[in-house]
Symmetry: C3
Subunit: 134 residues, 3 copies
């Protein structure tokens, strides 16, 4: 149920590479948070010249202007810091490997959203009245 | 003031259908939360092949890979669960009807945002110093 | 570290104008919140006909349907209201000047995100274990 949204440079990655990125994000969830493999919900957006700006060196990174990307994650707000650390570590590793980019090139933002706010379909908030299990 | 952002498959829906989707989202607000009709703020993004991934069956849905979509909603954080249930129910119903897709095809995420964080224009936070009325 | 995401009409602004918009958003941060200039992280998305809907007059604005835009900002959740007011004021002023649009045409939403949720690269949550300084 975490939903991933990656913002990548336009025309840099093929459809196949985008699928690999989606797989990489999903695997990070399974590995770090033991979430079911079927919980795979991913959005990817391309951005043309002038539409994606990551500072090349801020916070002592070496970002490649034609490869660097954002990944935003709507994540259950109940996740403790230790789980978030595990997730961003796996996410960075898997995404960098899938796209053959540097670990410096991946900026991740976790947006905490309480579980009661997700509807998987049919207009129901399926997790509203149950304790969070994932 | 809730802001809707729908992520739909590229080249699947016409401009007219997108307008119908925007109308459907706005009507859901009016019907479920009695928000003024003029409070109509909608973003729609298209995603090409490999850029939109919703698992076909997770949580016992039957999602159509060429129709399924995400709708993200930045919603006033003061809304109680009962209002959120009413909103996602209407939103699902109206959007499915507008686009002639299955209720299973619409994944909705509500992102709670306190009212003091919205600027409708002119660089003011218009709702910062008033009690939430909608 | 606030991340800006502007949603603008397609083919209305050149790459150069988009760079100016990115600069304008970054300057607003520096001026209003004394954030380092190098903290420049910006996403811009274009939206075709039927994909961007801002009501022309709601909340007593005069929005131009071919110029009006959304700016979403993932902002440290520790920011008090006074800082948010200063930021949206500067952001509106700078963005309107950069694109030569009306102050009425810029709808801003601040999404508060606790600092521990940002990874600037290398899979670390760099601000997780330090007091917020910016």
């Amino acid at each position: 149920m975490p939903i991933f949204h990656a913002h990548v440079p336009a025309r840099r990655y093929s459809s196949q590479q985008k699928r690999s990125l989606a797989d990489a994000m999903n695997s990070a969830l399974v590995e770090a948070l033991q979430i079911p493999t079927e919980d795979r919900f991913v959005i990817i957006s391309e951005h043309a010249e002038g539409e994606l700006h990551l500072h090349p060196t801020f916070m002592d990174m070496q970002r490649d202007p034609i490869a660097a990307m954002f990944i935003m994650v709507c994540l259950g707000a109940h996740r403790p810091l230790e789980q978030k650390k595990a997730l961003v570590q796996k996410l960075n590793y898997n995404a960098a490997a899938a796209l053959k980019v540097s670990p410096d090139d991946i900026f991740i933002t976790l947006i905490p959203v309480p579980n009661e706010n997700f509807s998987f379909g049919r207009g129901k908030l399926q997790l509203a009245d149950v304790a969070p299990s994932w």
